[in-house]
Amino acid sequence: MTAQVSERLIYGGKEIPLFTNPLSLYLKNAGISFESPHTANWRGYVGTWEILEHEGVERLYLVALSAHKTYEEILSLSDVFPGHDKVFAHWFTGELRCPQGAQLKYRHMGYGSIYEYDLLMDFKQGVLISKHARHNEVPEEVDEKDYPAFLRRGAQ
């Protein structure tokens, strides 16, 4: 599986990549699916998210969307959420992962690449609860001989 294009997160006035798909539950619930335009975007959309603060509480909002209804036809946020210019992701409980710094290891799979840091933010029903940074190390190279036999090249 090809490495996937990330979502985007605007936080503190800066746009950073986001390696989490907070829109998944909404789309599953609504029975909506999009067309994949290429192998680096199997989900068929890219959302732009923003953490907005109100009276000391920070919440997660979807502020822009580019979603492929078909290969050619692209839907925006107001097409998927009519009458809304931003959407509070109140269904999202979990962790947002934002990779930061240099890429230490490229992995040709999903959001598998490893960067110097991950900014991790915990949300409960769309409200930011806590955040912390994780320092990553270059992962140890694994030699093919250390793989289980069935994963080695030329395995019968």
């Binding site: 909404y26 609504a30 909002y61 959420f81 210019d85 509070f88 269904w91």
Partner: protein, 202 residues
């Protein structure tokens, strides 16, 4: 042979009886060989296998012939046992098929918390958003999903239960570890989960 020559049933000699006994086994062998022949790799596939060094050697062919000869002998004379095995196998396959076709709900019976009244669930579901971007409907933007879930509660025996899956615990048919807390409501009938509406997860 002298001993066998004394065996007869309904006026049939032992070799006639043996021939009759082997008819089903031989029929199956012929059927299977024809199917194998029809499903043999195409010339293209054989060329590809040869190109990646997987061409069969003479020893491979001889081994193949030996395996086929043993299999034909066993099926010809032991077909009743194979018949019994086939019946068991088809029953096992049918049970697996039923398991495969079961809907894949995140919620498992151990995640159910308590029976809830849909009206109470709605009252507790309104979303607080100071920017006013969530609809003032039960479960906010998830309201259409909730409406569908309610519409599906058609049977008098259907009960609505709340459920909670904690981060790290097993969930769903494949029992993966949950990457976040998951909450929602399940449609339960006679103790069986028949539907779910997830209100929060990652």
């Amino acid at each position: 042979m002298d001993l066998l020559s004394g065996i007869s049933l309904f006026g049939l000699s032992w070799y006639q009886l043996l021939a009759m006994y082997t008819v089903p086994g031989v029929s199956y062998v012929v059927f299977h060989l024809v199917r194998e022949y029809r499903n043999r790799p195409s010339e293209f596939a054989r060329g590809m296998l040869a190109a990646i060094g997987k061409k069969k050697s003479v020893v491979d062919h001889l081994l193949n012939i030996l395996v086929y000869a043993i299999a034909i002998f066993c099926i010809t004379f032991g077909w009743p046992l194979f018949g019994i095995w086939a019946i068991f196998q088809s029953r096992k396959e049918a049970a697996l098929e039923i398991e495969r076709n079961k809907p894949d709900f995140d919620c498992l019976p151990e995640h159910l918390i308590s029976k809830v009244d849909p009206h109470d669930a709605e009252i507790a579901s309104y979303v607080i958003d100071p920017l006013g971007t969530a609809p003032t409907l039960p479960f906010g933007h998830l309201n259409p999903g909730w409406a569908n879930f309610l519409a599906d509660m058609t049977d008098d025996r259907d009960e609505m239960w709340s459920f909670y899956i904690s981060k790290g615990s097993e969930y769903g048919k494949h029992r993966f570890a949950a990457s976040s807390d998951i909450r929602g409501y399940a449609k339960v009938r006679n103790g069986e989960i028949l539907g779910e509406f997830i209100t929060e997860s990652d």
